[in-house]
Symmetry: C2
Subunit: 198 residues, 2 copies
């Protein structure tokens, strides 16, 4: 005996999501059966709307429902700084901090020879094009502290520096509130390396 | 800065699923943006179809796309045994075993005074009605080995036994392949209590 087709198909759809195995997918599918119909319709509509109405900003590559996005069109922001991140969620994290008032550039990934991701697969050409604009004085590279993130940062730095634009990288070190005892070696090494005079 | 409305709404829909927090919901929503449009439309359609096309079998309470369900209408099954489970997924687990050839009855939950679930909230009246049929000789209670599952089993047993129908409960003990060293006290107690002569 198999699950009835409608639920089997829904379970299959859920298993396509990242980190959802067969058991979680079944749990979600049965949960949907217990939801009221209006909520299920809304869920379905939200899936379709998100896919249809969202696009990437033609300037910074961020996800947006209006092109150019609200950051790129915000005249109150500092147009001399561009913070380069891997994806949209990183922009959201930066914005939550409420301290950075410059612009963003979303790469849409990192360079990864293993996965066959080269510079042409990322929003690097559009970044270079933006830099031709003389208002940009500093590019802050905020890729993650992974091997690929570091390699991407190095690549961008070599590409941008010759144009006479300042290139910086986010500081790496101990998290605020963390315990030295539990810090990994790489983090400690970066914390020592990046030490500042008091 | 907030997420654009279409993605914020989709994240919100995902957070309604069991065990999905804000971070996982965002991860799923962004994953949906990267899926191809046909897959997203299929996902949305599967949600709607599962909600609209599935119903509960009027005999056993199991989820089905045809009423009565394929188990209840299967003439090859043993109509003298009814296995009582908490929900549809338990039926699927039993069917995977491929050894039980009787019928099922899905309660749709367990008695829980804490959550205000009484006998009238479960498919207990329909079970009693089925038992009036003289072909049923044994009711096997397969509620989970939780406090509520046990209480439900006791309640059903007291309700059914006076009608002269045999009431049994699944055996509890050590899982096959498990290590006694790691078994919890209750499981060991049940294993001792339910020991069989070799």
């Amino acid at each position: 005996m198999q699950y009835p087709a409608p639920i089997a198909k829904l379970i299959n759809s859920f298993t396509k999501l990242p980190g959802i195995g067969a058991k979680s997918a079944a749990r979600h599918a049965f949960y949907v059966l217990d939801m009221n119909e209006a909520d299920v319709l809304e869920f379905a509509q939200n899936l379709i709307n998100a896919k249809r109405d969202l696009t990437h900003c033609s300037i910074c590559g961020n996800i947006t429902d209006s092109d150019p996005c609200i950051v790129c069109t915000d005249e109150s922001r500092d147009r001399s700084q561009v913070l380069v991140v891997e994806d949209t969620r990183d922009v959201m994290s930066m914005e939550r901090m409420q301290e950075f008032r410059g612009l963003y550039h979303v790469l849409g990934g990192v360079l990864s020879p293993m996965e066959g991701t080269g510079p042409e697969d990322l929003n690097i050409p559009s970044l270079i094009k933006r830099l031709e604009d003389e208002t940009i004085k500093e590019v802050i590279i905020a890729t993650n502290a992974t091997a690929e993130g570091e390699a991407t940062a190095m690549y961008l730095s070599r590409l941008i520096k010759p144009a006479g634009i300042k290139v910086t990288r986010l500081a790496h070190g101990l998290s605020v509130g963390s315990d030295i005892e539990y810090a990994d070696e790489m983090t400690l090494f970066r914390a020592i390396e990046g030490r500042r005079e008091l």
